[in-house]
């Protein structure tokens, strides 16, 4: 049966890693220090969306004595990407090596040094399967989406210009712009 993590061509990955005692603040700074306008995840181009969250504790059912169901804070990394998880984790560890090391080195069981095949195996071991996933554009890759978005912008531009063109020149102008599509 198909993995519940898969929706069309996209895969939803969840990696839960416990944070080493006393390292939660350091990890928070590391994450807050990531460039928001040029995220390191840009370098992992198969990524549609991804997040890091620090889960300090889980809610407890009402009426129960306050306790920490997790036994300590966890780092949660989730990602929606194209294709298979094995090659994605490989890319994540290769193309974003420095940041991956800086982040996961705060976690229990992380290999030292936190890099390469060892890091990839660590992340894979800590993967938790989703129950049910939904993706709005199941069959479109990041690249396809970006290309399509760009074409749309160019077509809008062209359609506005074409309005005022001499009919005789429209075909040429169109092929110039979109001919090699």
């Amino acid at each position: 049966m198909r993995s519940p993590n898969i929706a069309g061509r996209t895969y939803t990955l969840m990696v839960w890693t416990p944070i080493l005692p006393g390292r939660e603040e350091d990890l928070r700074s590391t994450l807050d220090g990531l460039d928001r306008t040029r995220s390191p995840l840009l370098r992992v181009p198969r990524t549609h969306m991804a997040r890091w969250l620090i889960v300090a504790g889980m809610p407890v059912p009402p009426g129960t004595k306050a306790q920490d169901p997790l036994g300590g804070p966890f780092l949660l990394f989730t990602s929606n990407f194209d294709g298979d998880v094995d090659s994605y984790l490989h890319e994540l560890c290769e193309l974003m090596a420095d940041e991956a090391a800086a982040i996961w080195s705060h976690c229990v069981g992380c290999p030292r040094p936190p890099e390469g095949a060892a890091l990839k195996a660590y992340l894979h071991r800590n993967q938790v399967d989703a129950g049910f996933t939904f993706a709005a554009y199941r069959d479109a890759s990041v690249q396809q989406i970006r290309t399509a978005l760009d074409k749309r912008e160019r077509l809008i531009d062209f359609a506005v210009r074409a309005q005022d063109m001499e009919p005789a020149t429209r075909r040429t102008a169109f092929l110039e712009e979109f001919g090699s599509a």
Binding site: W52, G109, V128, G131, A140, I145
Partner: protein, 197 residues
């Protein structure tokens, strides 16, 4: 006078362009441990379950997971099997938080809410305010959120994909359309394509 702080200009850490990401956990009533897996299986088997959500065209990714056990990495990790199952929910959507709640509560009422019915303290789908408080109170802060196409909404992406198909086909045909006939063909193309522009 103690006025509330004005929203800062920098977007919050769970917002990228026009997309917002929300992650939350709820604890389950005792029967959730059977009900949720059943819901997951049923939804996978009947993809039409989420048609209403799909049609609203504002959620790009969503996932639901029943967390009962976590991978074990040795000490000092103490917990692997959780005492209570927790429902984990993550969603990326366009529009404001208020719009998200409005759409969920008013349109996705019955279907979607089967996913919440086994969550403790779930107040029911309507009215909006209690549901919004339920959602917010279970939210986990995001430290870093990345989106590959932050300024494009689900609707724009879908339009772009649908448009691309048509554009590619037309561009291919256009090579062979004589000059005199191009205008008519362009008009026909544009009439069809206008709703994606």
């Amino acid at each position: 006078m103690n006025l509330p702080a004005v929203a800062p200009d920098a977007p919050p850490s769970n917002v990228a362009g026009r997309t917002t990401s929300i992650t939350l956990f709820t604890t389950q009533k005792w029967w959730g441990r059977f009900f949720m897996p059943f819901m997951f299986t049923a939804s996978r088997a009947v993809p039409k379950t989420l048609d209403a959500m799909d049609r609203l065209s504002f959620i790009s990714f969503a996932s639901w997971t029943l967390i009962r056990e976590l991978p074990y990495n040795g000490p000092p990790q103490t917990v692997r099997r959780l005492r209570y199952p927790h429902l984990f929910f993550e969603v990326s959507f366009n529009g404001s938080w208020a719009q998200y709640i409005d759409s969920s509560v008013r349109v996705l009422t019955t279907g979607m809410f089967s996913f919440w019915s086994s969550s403790r303290t779930f107040p029911g789908p309507l009215p909006a305010s209690p549901f919004q408080r339920f959602f917010k109170s279970h939210e986990i802060d995001t430290s870093h959120y990345y989106c590959a196409y932050p300024d494009a909404t689900v609707t724009i992406v879908r339009s772009a994909l649908a448009l691309e198909e048509r554009l590619d086909m037309f561009a291919h045909r256009a090579q062979n359309i004589p000059e005199a006939a191009f205008d008519g063909a362009w008009d026909a193309f544009l009439e069809d394509a206008q709703r994606f522009l």
